[in-house]
Symmetry: C2
Subunit: 247 residues, 2 copies
């Protein structure tokens, strides 16, 4: 049977999701735990290849197994074999034709910024630190220019192997939490190009710093030129929040 897992991790201590030689990744740790649990070699396919230092509260991954363990007990069983910075919080039976990447309807990421005079040690692994005071209203104004279907080539790192750079953004919001000086940029889309969320966040920071105007986003998208967009912000501010599948 084919099982779809929901996986949460603190990416600080991993070289990203995808299995690699000589570097410890989340996929490797999860495959080791599942292989131990089911006493056979298990290979998983993840929905998103998160980079080194990127976190997930809603990663998804699929594997095949024949087992008598009830599916809803798998999270509890596998968690006893995982390091505490990785947790499985859901397991569902899916059809044999279910594909963790191709069946995706939308994904949501959050990029978190600490916008304060000094860094906060407790948030160092989960936020990008930006000292200069950002203008939230301008950042909010910029959101609308990203919405809809666009060619996001300007927001794609070189080295991407994507066939097309056209993607749809369904939702983009900027929220502020004054109690700890954090700003969250939350974006939902049909899918994202390599480093796309981190480049969108970096471009939003340019808007917040008044280096560019909110409606400059239109031209930046049309230019299809990576040089026109903002910097790629560091990975530690990024968290994969949710993946929704087509029914």
């Amino acid at each position: 049977m084919r099982i779809l897992l929901k996986v949460l991790y603190d990416g600080t201590n991993y070289f990203g999701w995808q299995r690699q030689n000589n570097f410890i990744t989340v996929q490797q740790k999860l495959e080791e735990a599942l292989s131990e649990l089911f006493k056979k070699s298990i290979v998983i396919r993840g929905a998103s290849r998160t980079d080194t230092g990127v976190h997930a509260l809603g990663q998804r991954a699929v594997f095949e197994v024949d087992t008598t363990i009830p599916v809803n007990k798998i999270p509890y069983a596998v968690n006893t074999m995982l390091p505490e910075d990785i947790r499985v919080t859901g397991a569902d039976l899916v059809n044999e034709d279910f594909h963790p990447q191709n069946s995706v309807y939308k994904k949501t990421y959050e990029y978190k910024i600490l916008n304060s005079e000094f860094p906060n040690p407790m948030l160092r692994n989960y936020t990008a630190f930006i000292h200069k005071k950002l203008n939230i209203e301008k950042m909010r104004e910029a959101c609308k220019y990203f919405l809809g279907e666009h060619d996001f080539k300007s927001f794609c790192a070189s080295g991407s192997t994507a066939k097309t750079t056209i993607r749809t953004i369904f939702d983009l919001t900027v929220s502020e939490k004054r109690s700890d000086d954090t700003i969250s940029i939350t974006v939902t889309g049909s899918g994202f190009l390599y480093n796309m969320v981190r480049i969108i966040a970096g471009t939003m920071v340019y808007v917040g710093e008044s280096k560019i105007k909110p409606d400059d986003i239109k031209d930046i998208i049309l230019s299809r030129n990576r040089e026109r967009a903002g910097k790629t912000l560091p990975p530690n501010g990024l968290t994969l929040l949710e993946i929704c599948y087509k029914n």
Copy 2:
């Protein structure tokens, strides 16, 4: 001159605040950084001896130095010499009779609980995980019984060397953040006995689990018996938020 620092740290990787032989502590790291900055041996006195794993967003510490570095530049200078899980965010000149412990008017601590079905890897170092659903309303009702001046012997770990177990609690609140299933217990008092906040939090959890009733707190305080109060919750949920001094 005598300088009062504001110090923030993620306590995860330290054996608490207080300098110890053979164990790395926050005080040691801060003294090393200050000694490097001022090119002489600096000894600091902290306001609170936080335990292993406990965090601080408002620790205070005092030291003596003669320097031409402007006092308001000290945080920036010392931060370049500190590991990134410790940050100095304030420096003020104080009088020669200022004492970091004796001059305290009140302290505020936050105890954070993750109350959800599964642990969250991103919150593992900053919350205590409690699986059973807690009744927030009952916990809120319990707060009032702690307020005021009481003998808190029931909430003091054995091994305390405090001369008196009488303390005053000015404020105690319970707040819930549904977006990440966390509950914060925030307490402000004249001072706290050894493990007092962690035992108060553990007792509040008993109330939330309906093991005891909110008004049982009255009897628990009157009993002056540590056995009557709740468990000492783990250190990682605890953060020293603020220390206020008498003018």
